[in-house]
């Protein structure tokens, strides 16, 4: 059993390594996390330090990306903004896939009325324009970092729930689950110790794609002014009001958006690569 599992894993690893884009995306993602999380060690400027005399400065040795509309160092803001965007995205994803996996696992495992109710809720969430409910909620409760994370995760668990449900349904009929039941394991034990671990690869894939989605939503909310609030920089809120200085200093608009694009692209590519490598039906 052990040998078999290890063999399977290494085969997945070899398949993953063959996908150049996926490996590249993994490297870029690790670099982005490392650089943004260690920002206070290596970035020379404070992202919130205002210098009114040096507004809209062009690139120079002191300010490599120039300064923004309040004379703050654009490069420092991008690196610190990345820290916020990546953390919010990651936290929202963790909550979303936890919720999604639980909903999907319960629905698939217990079936019947539980399944019907949970899946109706999931479908309903997919058929209403949730973004408007997000706007309402943030307008009423305020845009604290916690609220932003919660609201994103509460509106993005549905895809995971569907995937986990179908995987659990498939595994439920397999011999090892039937055997676990036959020797008298309790329902929750069969689910959490036997069925769910088999579904783990799918959860990892949907988590990777989930970070991409969460970063996109966070940046859009922050851009609209309903997400991460200034002075805390995030890639999204650095673009708020960007249109007014699009004529004056276009690069201030180009950089943060390009980084959102890059990170979302990398997470999507990684998710795709992982899906191909981990999915046993794709061989």
């Amino acid at each position: 059993m052990k040998i078999h599992v290890r063999f399977h894993r290494s085969r997945s690893w070899r398949k993953f390594r063959r996908k150049r884009l996926a490996v590249l995306s993994l490297v870029v993602i690790v670099l982005m996390y490392a650089l943004s999380l260690s920002a206070n060690v290596w970035v020379p400027h404070d992202p919130e330090e205002v210098d009114i005399l040096l507004r809209f400065a062009g690139p120079s040795w002191r300010h490599v990306f120039g300064t923004d509309e309040m004379g703050r160092d654009a490069f420092a803001r991008i690196v610190y903004g990345g820290r916020v965007s990546l953390s919010v995205g990651t936290a929202a994803m963790v909550l979303a896939i936890t919720l999604g996996s639980l909903v999907g696992a319960f629905a698939g495992f217990w079936g019947g009325a539980v399944d019907a109710v949970l899946m109706r809720i999931t479908e309903s969430m997919l058929s209403i324009p949730v973004f408007f409910f997000v706007i309402v909620t943030l307008a009423i409760l305020g845009s604290s970092l916690m609220n932003v994370i919660l609201v994103i995760s509460l509106t993005s668990w549905m895809a995971t729930a569907r995937i986990v449900r179908s995987e659990v349904l498939r595994n439920k009929e397999l011999d090892y689950v039937v055997a676990a039941r036959a020797i008298g394991c309790s329902g929750p034990r069969v689910l959490f110790r036997h069925a769910l671990p088999q579904v783990f690869p799918s959860i990892i894939v949907s988590g990777t794609l989930g970070v991409a989605y969460a970063i996109l939503i966070e940046s859009a909310l922050s851009f609209l002014g309903l997400g991460v609030q200034p002075p805390t920089p995030s890639w999204g809120n650095m673009l708020t009001g960007a249109q007014s200085y699009l004529w004056k200093s276009p690069m201030l608009v180009v950089y943060p958006g390009a980084l959102i694009f890059l990170s979302v692209l990398m997470f999507n590519a990684l998710g795709d690569g992982l899906r191909d490598a981990l999915d046993p039906t794709m061989q």
């Binding site: 209403i128 973004f131 408007f132 706007i135 309402v136 009423i140 309903l226 999204g236 699009l246 276009p250």
Partner: protein, 318 residues
């Protein structure tokens, strides 16, 4: 068929009720409680008096029924910031959003189907890789930034397209002017869906190309383009209708962003600016109206699909 239709309509009604319950519950969370929704400038004592008059001291489900009854009668409350009934405001903004949404869906379907089909029949060529990269980028690009980049290119550098609004202020209406204003927001709103449709079409066409009846058609000497149009696309594209139905909620959500970037005078922009001014009745009304329209459109696409596709056996379907 009738049974299916009734079931589908019942599902739509259930969703509508769910949406109102959700909105009503959110309203309970508003700072100062629901009484403040009527008039934000009242003191604590007046608020309590107001609550008695409005029946807010009654049980929650009674309050919900009263509120829902008002909705049906067309009493959607008054805006805090604009001296107009909320229903009038939101209904007035609806056409702009509908035009934008429909234009974006048309762009997404036409481009998506074209690119997806081309990429499938030219599988594993440079052309295919380019389209794959384009559609992959399409699902990864932040729409508001894509919009800003288009403004930078077409309004700032090339000066060929207007960067905001629906019509040139002060000018008399002309179709060219309107289309010039519509172009960028519609492309931005359509980009994500175009990418999804292209990816879907590619795999769908590739699957159908493997089918026996396609080989038969080719075998009896039909030209490739005839096989493509008469056999392949017909079968590969039917499910696209369902895909469009699934994308409609996202079009609505995306409209909030595209409209804000391009100052398009629709519901999405109204919701965002109302959120800033804490004009709760307006945000609520926009959310309700958008949900109604989305649920209705999804219902229509679903029904359309069953009408168009003769293979569907409704008895087995649900």
């Amino acid at each position: 068929m009738i049974g299916y239709l009734l079931g589908r309509v019942a599902q739509g009604v259930f969703l509508l009720v769910l949406v109102t319950v959700l909105t009503f519950s959110l309203m309970q969370l508003a700072p100062g409680g629901p009484a403040i929704l009527m008039d934000p400038h009242i003191g604590a004592e007046q608020a309590r008096e107001m609550e008695r008059i409005l029946g807010l001291d009654r049980p929650v489900h009674i309050q919900y029924l009263r509120w829902a009854g008002n909705l049906i009668r067309g009493d959607w409350g008054k805006s805090f910031t604009m001296a107009q009934p909320v229903l009038e405001i939101v209904v007035g903004r609806l056409p702009a959003t509908m035009v934008l949404a429909v234009a974006s869906i048309v762009i997404a379907v036409v481009l998506g189907v074209f690119l997806g089909t081309m990429s499938a029949i030219k599988k594993d060529t440079v052309f295919d890789s380019v389209i794959t990269v384009v559609s992959f980028s399409g699902i990864s690009i932040p729409t508001f930034w894509f919009g800003l980049m288009l403004i930078l290119l077409f309004s700032v550098h090339l000066r060929v397209l207007p960067s905001s609004g629906m019509l040139t202020v002060g000018a008399s209406f002309s179709l060219v002017d309107f289309l010039a204003h519509l172009a960028m927001p519609a492309v931005v709103l359509g980009s994500v869906n175009m990418a999804q449709i292209a990816r879907y079409t590619r795999s769908s066409v590739l699957t159908v190309l493997q089918e026996d009846y396609v080989r038969t058609a080719r075998g009896k000497g039909l030209a490739f383009h005839r096989v493509l149009f008469k056999h392949v696309l017909r079968n590969a594209l039917l499910p696209i209708i369902t895909l469009i139905g699934m994308l409609i909620p996202r079009v609505a959500s995306g409209a909030a962003i595209a409209e804000t970037v391009f100052a398009w005078p629709g519901l999405g922009r109204l919701a965002v600016s109302a959120a800033f001014q804490r004009d709760y009745p307006v945000i609520m009304a926009v959310t309700l109206l958008v949900s109604f329209v989305v649920i209705l459109s999804t219902l229509i696409t679903d029904v359309l699909y069953t009408v168009v596709d003769p293979r569907i056996k409704l008895e087995k379907h649900r």
